[in-house]
Amino acid sequence: MSNNHAYDLLHTILVPEFLKTLYMVISATVLSTIIGMLLAVILIITYKEGLKPNKYIYEILTTFINIVRSFPFIILIVAIIPVTRAIVGSSIGEKAAIIPLTIAGAPFIARIIEGSLREVDKELIEAVKSFGATNFQIIFKVMLPEAVPSVISGITLAIISILGCTAMAGAVGAGGLGAIAITYGYANFDNTIMYGTVCVLIILVQIIQSIGNFLYKVLK
């Protein structure tokens, strides 16, 4: 392999595909967090010991989340192709991949945030109720701010798992580092590329986890 070949590989393939991966992970994380947060807040309000218990809403939502989470990701991508087409206009490419990534990520993040919110001290919530705070204030002024560190470490977990999913999305035409490892590496019998890409992913995961740990420490 000549130096020139390696340079080409880096510039024409690795860097743009790496950016595609980054783009997919960041967009899907942001969207999943927004939707997941919303779902988590509804779950925590309607939970039987919540602020406004509602068995029906809670059960419907929780069942729905469980159903989405039971899909193997690669099947989910295929299963929701019509939805993806309706939203993005295509079922191929990194933009299209964001839709299944978000649909898979949101319920995951919803469960993580729900867990974090449920860990907020019950006595603290009683204390806040005792001076007449509204339910809105209880959630947004007290529960969420108190849960921030544990939400952050949960989201770190989610980002890494979304990163793993982008590789699978790569297999069905989304591009990104996963696609390189499979098409240029595995299918081309080129171990250098395959393991090289894996190394990049390892470094990426390390960085994400370190940032997550750092934020947790600072915020706690």
Binding site: V128, F131, G132
Partner: protein, 324 residues
């Protein structure tokens, strides 16, 4: 004033509170005691509507939570502060932000919040920790912050749920001193849930003893302790059991504040000229008065003479019988 009439509460088939009748006057320090599961914390939470009850009525200055909407209850709660066993502060906010929280929720102007927070931190004597987070405070300091927060909306009643149970004895004393100061200077009534009888004895004006969701005894603290109803004996357990001699007759004399300093015993010894031995004696300090007990061992034939003497000086006495 808190008026509770025939209040009942149940979860399914289990009755948590039965036939509760209780009146707590303005400015009073009222103790609610009982073992764990007796219903004292639930009763406390009924006062500010954190718990709803099934039957009866509970009025705080005429306001019965049963007859009002959630929104009205929210406003009503401004009149009642509450503190807890584990302090319930926001761990990620500073002392200042914690105390300011209730006023922020009620949209007080910033300048007023600032003034009031500083004033409150001065009252609870923790001004130097204003920008610290709860994590760096001791238990006693955290409870002081919680008290400041509970007072921020100028309540007329302060509910304390096992507020000193997580503190060491010395810190407990300093918190009780602070609460008494608040009761006396601001005229705030305090309802104090605890399982520690020693706190009731020195801190509360009145007490109500709960057992399995029922009131077994209630009244002025020193009366309850001098009358020793069964409920009190159950709570104190073996702690107060006296070992009495099995020969002769044991006579228990109860001192109340009127005659506690009188020299009943020495006068009796001189006037009657009979021998007796002192078996057991105790004097206790209550929030408002001093009570004492003395147990004498007298020869059986002298009992009527001693009894007559004690009746003549109008002392309260009774003959104790050994149970074995």
């Amino acid at each position: 004033m808190i008026e509770i009439h025939n209040l009942q509460k149940s979860y399914g088939d289990i009755n948590i509170l039965k036939n509760i009748d209780l009146t707590i006057d303005d400015g009073e320090i009222y103790g609610l005691v009982g073992r764990s599961g007796a219903g004292k914390s639930t009763l406390l939470r009924c006062i500010n509507g954190l718990e709803k009850y099934n039957f009866g009525s509970l009025k705080v200055n005429g306001f019965d939570i049963k007859e009002h909407s959630d929104e009205e209850i929210r406003h009503f709660r401004k009149n009642i502060g509450m503190i807890f066993q584990h302090f319930s502060l926001m761990e990620r906010k500073t002392v200042y932000q914690n105390v300011a929280l209730p006023m922020e929720c009620w949209n007080y102007p910033k300048a007023e919040i600032d003034k009031r927070v500083k004033e409150l931190l001065k009252i609870v004597d923790i001004e130097d920790k204003i920008h610290e987070k709860p994590r760096s405070l001791s238990g006693g300091q955290k409870q002081r912050v919680a008290i400041a927060r509970a007072l921020s909306l100028n309540p007329k009643i302060l509910l304390c749920d096992e507020a000193t149970s997580a503190l060491d004895p010395k810190t407990t004393q300093s918190i009780l001193l602070l609460l008494r100061k608040i009761n006396e200077t601001l005229g705030i009534a305090i309802v104090f849930v605890t399982h520690q009888m020693s706190i009731v004895r020195q801190f509360c004006h009145k007490v109500c003893i709960l057992e399995n969701g029922e009131i077994m005894a209630k009244g002025v603290v020193s009366d309850i302790f001098s009358n020793q109803p069964q409920a009190l004996k159950n709570l104190l357990g073996e702690e107060e059991e006296e070992v009495l001699p099995s020969h002769g007759i044991n006579i228990k004399i109860t001192y109340s504040e009127a005659n506690v300093n009188d020299r009943v015993l020495s006068d009796m010894a001189q006037k009657l000229d009979i021998g007796f031995s002192l078996v057991w004696a105790k004097t206790e300090q209550y929030s408002d008065r001093v009570l004492g007990w003395v147990i004498l061992n007298v020869d059986e034939e002298n009992v009527p003479i001693v009894g007559k003497y004690l009746d003549d000086v109008s002392a309260r006495w009774e003959v104790l019988y050994n149970e074995q």
